[in-house]
């Protein structure tokens, strides 16, 4: 009888939540955004999504084989990196650039550090920034959406944030027609990267993750809250020049970044206070880069910079151990 008995130290039950299940849920949560992208940008978006995802999976397999480690693509983390990378690219990205990005994301962004759980930076963002710096032309060639059935071709144009930056540089004023397009921006009917266009679809996915308790509110709230406060401040100072907070919210990669990139567990702090601090930092940097930096969009850089600060944040936001707070007061 004892042959089949299990012995272990406690606890003897487990929640049943596994890494693979968490990763799968994140993939499901990204599907609405992928769907909207394919609707607005057509087959080109689909091909970018496929190339990035398959590229990441293949790179993971090759890396792990080379290092003599067990292949762990079944955990879904490489697929998430692939999808997130695709969502961060323009729909017109050439296939070789997407593939190169996928290889960079997994090989340089993740595996060189030791694979899942060891990378200091968000792999998809590492790849995006490498591509942005290496291929500035391709990475900033944006297309206007051409929804299925509209008969429109993809036309090269600028993102709302890019348009604003150009206008401000030329005239010091915000273009008037941008004020009225908020609803279109919210639904995704605007030029932009594959994933950032529809705030609605992203929020749907995020809601699912909240429901599954995979996301906590701390980072997204702190991130977006800071962006709203800071951009609101500038807007109040000079509404002619600076766009209002809603514009900041629905254009660019803020929603994608705040809910899906800045919440990457591996590269963000573990304590509640740390998460809040991380979110605030992301928000500050995003607004500063958007309003005063050279690039029209600052979410990726903001998150990567805060990733670098994560170990430091973790160090200084260690939760107070139970029973040590009062002791200090007494002493």
């Amino acid at each position: 009888m004892s042959q089949q008995l299990y012995l272990s130290s406690s606890p003897h039950i487990h929640s049943g939540e596994t890494t693979a299940k968490v990763m799968r849920a994140v993939i499901y949560s990204l599907l609405p955004a992928c769907g909207v992208a394919v609707y607005f940008f057509g087959p080109s978006a689909l091909s970018v999504l496929l190339i990035a995802t398959l590229g990441c999976l293949a790179t993971e397999v090759v890396c792990q084989r080379l290092m003599g480690q067990p292949v762990t693509i079944a955990d879904g983390s490489a697929a998430i990196t692939g999808i997130l990378l695709a969502l961060n690219l323009p729909p017109s990205s050439p296939w070789w650039m997407t593939l190169f990005g996928a290889v960079v994301a997994i090989a340089i962004g993740k595996q060189v550090y030791g694979g899942l759980g060891s990378n200091p930076f968000n792999p998809a963002l590492v790849a995006r920034v490498v591509l942005l710096i290496s291929f500035p032309v391709q990475m900033t060639t944006w297309s206007a959406p051409a929804p299925f059935g509209s008969g429109l071709d993809l036309v090269t144009t600028a993102t709302p944030l890019g348009e604003w930056k150009n206008a401000v540089m030329l005239t010091g004023q915000m273009p008037a027609e941008m004020q009225g397009s908020m609803m279109n921006y919210f639904l995704g009917n605007m030029p932009g990267s594959i994933g950032e266009i529809s705030a609605l679809a992203l929020l749907l996915g995020a809601a699912y993750l909240f429901y599954r308790r995979i996301l906590t509110w701390h980072i997204p709230t702190a991130f977006i809250g800071t962006v709203i406060l800071l951009s609101g401040l500038f807007w109040l100072i000079n509404p002619e020049k600076y766009p209002n907070p809603v514009f900041h919210m629905v254009t660019g990669g803020l929603i994608l970044g705040a809910f899906f990139m800045a919440t990457d567990m591996v590269t963000t702090p573990v304590s509640t206070r740390g998460m809040l601090l991380f979110g605030v930092g992301c928000g500050l940097l995003t607004v500063l880069i958007r309003l005063f930096g050279g690039y029209p969009e600052g979410v990726s850089f903001a998150i990567l910079l805060m990733n670098a600060a994560t170990p430091l944040i973790d160090r200084y936001t260690r939760p107070k151990t139970f029973g040590t707070l009062q002791q200090e007061k007494v002493q």
Partner: protein, 280 residues
């Protein structure tokens, strides 16, 4: 362009002068012999000498407070070099290596339960004295492997720790970490060992292990000088083990092994009939 070259060059020059000055001004006097001694030490910082790393040992050597042969990983070679550096007589220590006195892997030794949890022998030992029925055998969760600073220990596919004769430097880290005391220090020259660590009676051992020593006395009868039996467990008398190998073929459970014959290349000790260790 020119301004850039001049300013960068200027900064470089100032920094170089400052560094050079600091190096001279704040230089710490180090006995050159200490550096030389550190050079010949293995550099594994294993702590076998009882000092904080090789540098600590080198310091202690120069202070003259200790013997030269406190570094088992370095071996006789290092002792000779150290003696040369310090200009003293070398006192040669016999080289000792660690041996796992057990061949009861997962196929040969029976378990009383399946262990789940932390992959650590000490943690498993705390739960009902370990998953194996045998009270003395290798637990097989690789705590020694993780403790070894010289990569000399491997786990076989069937969960048994095996130690390379050549890679082992005798630092005793594995001996300290093993909760079962199944790893022993033996003279390097002694290649014949009784690979069992259970003092249970033969009839009991046969119930849980195919390859344990049953205390049958046959080895001692064959070569009386080379073996001793205590509490139903045979042991090689390492001072008089010249002919110990002759009893190997007589052992009914095949728990006496001669590593120099089976593995003259100094590769790991392997129980009879086990697969090669898989890459860890």
């Amino acid at each position: 362009m020119l301004a850039a070259i001049l300013s960068l060059g200027g900064i470089g020059l100032i920094a170089a002068v400052a560094l050079g000055f600091a190096a001279k001004k704040f230089a710490v006097e180090v006995d050159p012999r200490e550096l030389a001694a550190l050079e010949v030490l293995p550099g594994a910082n294993c702590g076998a000498c009882g000092f904080p790393g090789c540098a600590g040992y080198a310091k202690a050597l120069l202070a003259g407070s200790i013997d030269l042969n406190q570094c088992p990983p370095g071996g006789a070679d290092t002792v000779a070099k150290l003696a040369h550096i310090l200009g003293v007589e070398a006192s040669a220590a016999t080289r000792e290596i660690a041996v796992v006195l057990c061949q009861g892997d997962n196929r040969k030794a029976q378990i009383k339960y399946h262990y789940l949890g932390l992959e650590d022998c000490t943690a498993a030992q705390r739960i009902a004295d370990g998953p194996k029925i045998c009270p003395g055998g290798c637990v097989g969760l690789g705590s020694c492997l993780r403790a070894c600073p010289f990569d000399a220990i491997e786990m076989t596919a069937d969960g048994l720790a095996v130690i390379s004769r050549e890679k082992c430097t005798g630092c005793r880290k594995c001996v300290a970490v093993c909760p079962r005391n199944v790893i022993r220090m033996t003279p390097y020259e002694a290649a014949v060992h009784v690979l069992c660590n259970s003092h249970d009676k033969g009839a009991l051992i046969r119930k849980y292990c195919q390859i344990g020593c049953i205390g049958c006395n046959i080895c001692k009868k064959t070569i009386p000088d080379a073996y001793k039996i205590e509490n139903f467990l045979a042991e090689v008398v390492y001072e008089q083990d010249a002919e110990a190998a002759e009893a190997i073929s007589k052992c009914p459970t095949k728990c006496i092994r001669d590593f120099s014959v089976a593995y003259p290349d100094g590769s790991v000790q392997l129980p009879a009939g086990t697969d090669k260790p898989h890459a860890a």
